[in-house]
Amino acid sequence: MNMESSTETEKQSSDNAIIEIIDMHKWFGDFHVLQGINLTVRMKERIVICGPSGSGKSTLIRCINRLEEHQRGRIIVDGIELTNNIKNIEKIRAEVGIVFQQFNLFPHLNIIENLTLGPIWARKVPKAEAEETAMYYLEKVHIPEQARKYPGQLSGGQQQRVAIARSLCMNPKVMLFDEPTSALDPEMIKEVLDVMIELAQEGMTMIVVSHEMGFAKSVAHRVLFMDYGQIIEGNAPEEFFENPQHDRTKLFLSQILH
């Protein structure tokens, strides 16, 4: 990725925040998982989050579409604040798609049904139109020929691409990815990352939890490092990898890069 375009984006859209997280805390029982998260994501910005296991990366992005509930601070998505208001939650879920580590496709439905379920039932899109959209995105993730198969008949990489297409069918403004490639066999990682890179090139706003450093370097505007429920540091990929500021970041990078 060239830095020019990314700095440009940052300049024009400095006030163009799509996600704002302000001093957000979350506890699981007594366990303080997220300890004061502050994060602003601008339109079309791509952020990669890394950090050791248990540092709260998944919890953070799951809070953004309310799969987890935060207890203090604010989360504002596209001007809508996440509160207990069901209407707001619905609106925010309509703007935020998520891709899980374990794909979570619906095994009893075939691929096209997996893709059209959300649009048809939650959005009331006519079936024919929903199927057309579904085929469009299946082509985008390079597996239109699998449309009538069931998830169990697909490889892991194919399933994850279907899961990405399923989220895209809802026409989200932001895509969240929670370690999308870590359940995959090595030879399938690339096909999924390629799809994500294409998505990035089309200007999707993305928050990706991932330890794929190559992906981070080529796609991310910012890489964040999380540890013990806090964002320790965040920087442009070159800076982040070549010149990490904190000892913990250095330690972590030395562990994953070797």
């Binding site: 799969l67 979570n104 009893h108 379920l117 039932w121 939650a122 069931y150």
Partner: protein
């Protein structure tokens, strides 16, 4: 030349003679070692001792169309007890000349059930057919409209009554059981508590006591002059009872679902109702088809317990025939007959469930 070579090759590839054909099968499956040969011989001996006499009793020495007295001279089975009393066994006290009506009603039911076997007909028209069918069946049983003579439900009996109790018992208990299972998983404490109490209370008592309560204790609480049809009360008791068991089985299926399925549905913007209907229940209910069918089958057989509150179901009409001095003592034949009827019912249910399971498993 080449052909010849190929010919010999195919011959060589043929399996050894001993493993094919009838002899091969017997050798392989029945006499493959000493112990199995021993078992085979014992079983053959046992069959030889029992089957021919049984066959003789049932078919050769048996009598089919005689009076009860003539039966007593026969050495074989007295199927006359069935043939002479068939209409009473099947229809109980339903007015004799009107018995074509329950017969027709049962016929409609069987046709509808048969059509519904095939999932490709599970569309709106079939729904309308069922609604019409149920209305016509009710009309045939009850009469009172279109010049049909009214028949009190106290006169209903025999097979139609058994089918009525089972059909509505099972079809109403299933959805109720699913709702109870969902309630038991609910995040709302009050709903959850109610469902738990209900399920545990019902499972804590035998069906017989529920039937007694429905038929004897429950009417005591009704205001003067209000009566509720006895069949309906038994029906409700059967539904409530079966639903509690279904609920527990379905709960097992729900527990088999991963959190990821809920989260994926939620993130697609599906609400609770849609998530359950489209994602969770189709999978959970499929997993529990075998135990569900076991419960439905035993519920079908348990409808015969209404005997004790003096409803004239199939078992009770048979018993009353047997208490007639002319036919006393032929209970073997009579019970074999209704056993066959029950078996047909249960067997078709389990058969159908296997077919359904196979069809639904194409996704995995």
């Amino acid at each position: 030349m080449e052909e010849l070579v190929q010919g010999t090759q195919t011959e060589e590839l043929k399996p050894p003679v001993a493993s094919v054909g009838f002899i091969g099968w017997i050798k392989y499956n029945l006499f493959n070692d000493v112990f199995n040969s021993f078992l085979t011989i014992i079983i053959l001996y046992f069959l030889w001792k029992t089957v021919p006499p049984l066959f003789r009793w049932a078919f050769i020495d048996s009598v089919w169309h005689t009076t009860g007295t003539a039966c007593r001279d026969a050495t074989g089975a007295c199927w006359s007890v069935i043939s002479a009393n068939l209409r009473f066994i099947l229809f109980g006290f339903f007015p004799y000349e009107l018995q074509w009506r329950p017969l027709l009603a049962m016929f409609i039911l069987f046709v509808l059930l048969f059509i519904s076997r095939d999932r490709k007909y599970w569309k709106k028209p079939l729904g309308y057919a069922w609604i019409t069918g149920l209305f016509v069946m009710g009309l045939l049983m009850k009469g009172g409209l279109f010049g049909l003579t009214p028949v009190e439900s106290t006169q209903w009996g025999g097979l139609p009554l058994t089918l009525l109790l089972s059909f509505f018992g099972l079809t109403a208990a299933y959805p109720l059981g699913v709702v109870l299972a969902l309630g038991r998983q609910s995040k709302m404490p009050a709903v959850k508590l109610l469902c738990v109490i209900y399920i545990e209370l019902i499972r804590g008592v035998p069906l017989i006591s529920l039937l007694f309560m429905a038929s004897i204790i429950f009417p005591l609480f009704l205001p003067e002059g209000v009566t509720i049809n006895k069949i309906l009360r038994a029906q409700v008791a059967i539904i409530l009872f079966t639903a509690a068991y279904i609920a527990e089985v379905v709960r097992g299926g729900l527990q088999g679902m991963t959190l990821g399925q809920y989260e994926a549905a939620e993130s697609l913007g599906l609400n609770y109702y849609l998530t359950m209907r489209l994602i969770i229940l189709p999978q959970a209910l499929k997993i529990v088809i075998p135990p569900t069918v076991s419960i439905l089958i035993s519920a079908f057989k348990d409808t015969s317990l209404v005997v004790i509150i003096a409803l004239f179901d199939l078992l009770k009409t048979t018993q009353s025939v047997l208490s007639n001095p002319e036919w006393m003592g032929f209970s073997r034949e009579a019970y074999i007959f209704i056993a066959i009827l029950y078996f047909l019912g249960c067997f078709s249910m389990s058969n159908y469930s296997r077919k359904l399971e196979k069809e639904l498993s194409r996704g995995d």
